[in-house]
Amino acid sequence: MNERVFIEPQPSAETEAFWHAAGEGRFLVKRCTACGKAHWYPRSHCPFCASADTVWEEASGEGVIYSYSVMRRAKPPYVMAYVTLAEGPTMMTNIVDCDPDGLSIGDAVTLRFVTTAEGAALPMFAPKAAAGVVDPAEERP
């Protein structure tokens, strides 16, 4: 199977902190301190109350699949998805380390950073069952 080639994210002054933290394995979301609501994608002004008092906070990395679609003819195929974060907002991402035919909307997923050719860490998600507990039966050769 071909190695997947990602478009590089190209961080901006507005988002540099996010990609820097991601490189260190920390997943950040933006929260507004004026209205208290987290939003996605991250931006400097709150999309709800328009306050500029938005701060980065480390997110739990937990979420559920909002919807997904398997890109069958991509080489290699990949699973495009929206995941609703425990913090509230729904973000565009991919589901990785999974059986694409075994996914369902509502499935619990957990964060899994995937690194691009140039070293950017993309926040993606894996099914919780597969990501956390490894079935000992499957460990045997």
Partner: protein, 393 residues
């Protein structure tokens, strides 16, 4: 119908022209623009020197409307380049009507031309804009966001929430193909079955290849004018009686992708027109994918939310068979989706129906009220819905 007689006439569509080509390797974009512009003006019985308002999208090459105005040597006093992707042209008709009512122009020309087949931009409908200034770029492009998977996710969630099936979506393509068989210019004229659709290759779950529109070169144009001029021409009178528009997006991360902007643009247009969905005799619905049609049927109020799958079954969208004939030219699914922008052809077929000039095999009897709707951009992430309600006078 029982409606107040005082409802003002907004404007009239007096010219409509669909370019006959589906593969325009031998023509430049400017030539296609000229072909459709002069075709629509000839249809209206007007000439290029009658035009004082010009409306186009970013498909027009060059600097906004200036390059084409220069090429055609138009003498203008009003221009508009509203861009909501494929739905732009529905908004252009609405904005032309507003400009005419405000006295800013008398004869508005609206054009579309594109060559995605020739230029090779058709395969997969790849959305890849390498502009990192686009605020969403870094949150979407690295993840492989494409038109196909945005519509795939929309369909997947509709199936999850409402139990919609692939067979139900397939009925939309089946109905379009029944119409396309009568259109000698249609890109795909073969009548297909539900089985043909669901047995075609899966491209982005749960959408199959035959759930997707065709990729064609070509274009179209419209002429919109004020009542006095419309009545002086020799064409059937097609009045624009209601318009609506609605951009819809991710709303800071709290959204429902199975709800399209048509819920808002439709409501605005129906209220302005003073008619109800049950009054509509024919609909042109944007059909980039089968799921696009399904959401518009629900969100425009032709059936309840979640009932779209049951509504489209058993040929209910086929002219002469079902309750709500749609896209009688074969639509974007079979006939033509010029420049990857289906809004123009939606309006043109609605005008044909209201004039009584559709193909006799698909012409809706006494079609005095029609609706055209466009969804530009992508369902599932960012799009704009534009609605027009047209009445024969």
């Amino acid at each position: 119908m029982c409606r107040p007689m005082s409802r003002p006439a907004l404007a009239y569509i007096v010219g409509a022209f669909e370019h006959p080509t589906r593969d325009a390797g031998d023509k430049t974009l400017a030539q296609l623009q000229a072909d459709v512009a002069l075709g629509a003006l000839a249809d209206a019985g007007l000439g290029k020197d009658d035009v004082d308002g010009f409306f186009c999208g970013p498909d027009a090459p060059g600097t906004g409307p200036l390059s084409i105005a220069d090429y055609l040597n138009l003498d203008l006093r009003h221009v508009d380049t509203t861009n909501t992707s494929g739905s732009s042209y529905l908004l252009h008709v609405a904005h032309a009507a507003q400009a005419i009512a405000a006295g800013k122009c008398n004869v508005a020309l609206i054009t579309l031309a594109g060559r995605p087949r020739t230029e090779g931009r058709g395969k997969g409908g790849l959305v890849r804009r390498d502009d990192p200034n686009q605020p969403d770029f870094q949150w979407e492009q690295p993840f492989g966001m494409q038109i196909l998977n945005m519509y795939g996710m929309t369909a997947m969630r509709h199936m999850h929430l409402y139990g919609t099936t692939s067979e139900q979506l397939a009925w939309i393509k089946v109905a379009a193909s029944h119409h396309a068989q009568h259109n000698e210019r249609a890109y795909a004229r073969d009548v297909v079955t539900v089985e043909d659709v669901i047995n075609s290759p899966m491209v982005a779950d749960p959408l199959h290849r035959l759930d997707c529109c065709v990729v064609t070169d070509g274009g179209g144009a419209l002429v919109v004018t004020r009542p006095e001029i419309a009545r002086s021409l020799k064409r059937p009178l097609v009045k624009v009686i209601g318009t609506g528009e609605r951009p819809q997006h991710q709303q800071g991360g709290y959204f429902e992708i199975t709800q399209s902007g048509a819920a808002w643009s439709g409501k605005t247009a129906f209220e302005q027109a003073g008619v109800r969905p049950a009054d509509i005799k024919y609909v042109s619905l944007y059909d980039s994918f089968t799921i696009t049609v399904l959401l518009q049927l629900e969100d425009l109020g032709f059936c309840a939310k979640g009932e779209g799958g049951r509504f489209v079954m058993d040929g209910n969208l086929i002219s002469g068979v079902g309750r709500l004939p749609f896209n009688t030219d074969g639509g974007g699914l079979c006939n033509n989706h010029p420049g990857n922008r289906g809004g123009m052809t939606k309006i043109i077929e609605a005008v044909r129906q209201v004039r009584g000039e559709a193909h006799p095999a698909v012409q809706v009897a006494n079609c005095d009220l029609a609706l055209a709707n466009g969804i530009g951009g992508q369902l599932g992430v960012r799009h704009a819905s534009g609605t027009l309600i047209l009445e024969r006078e």
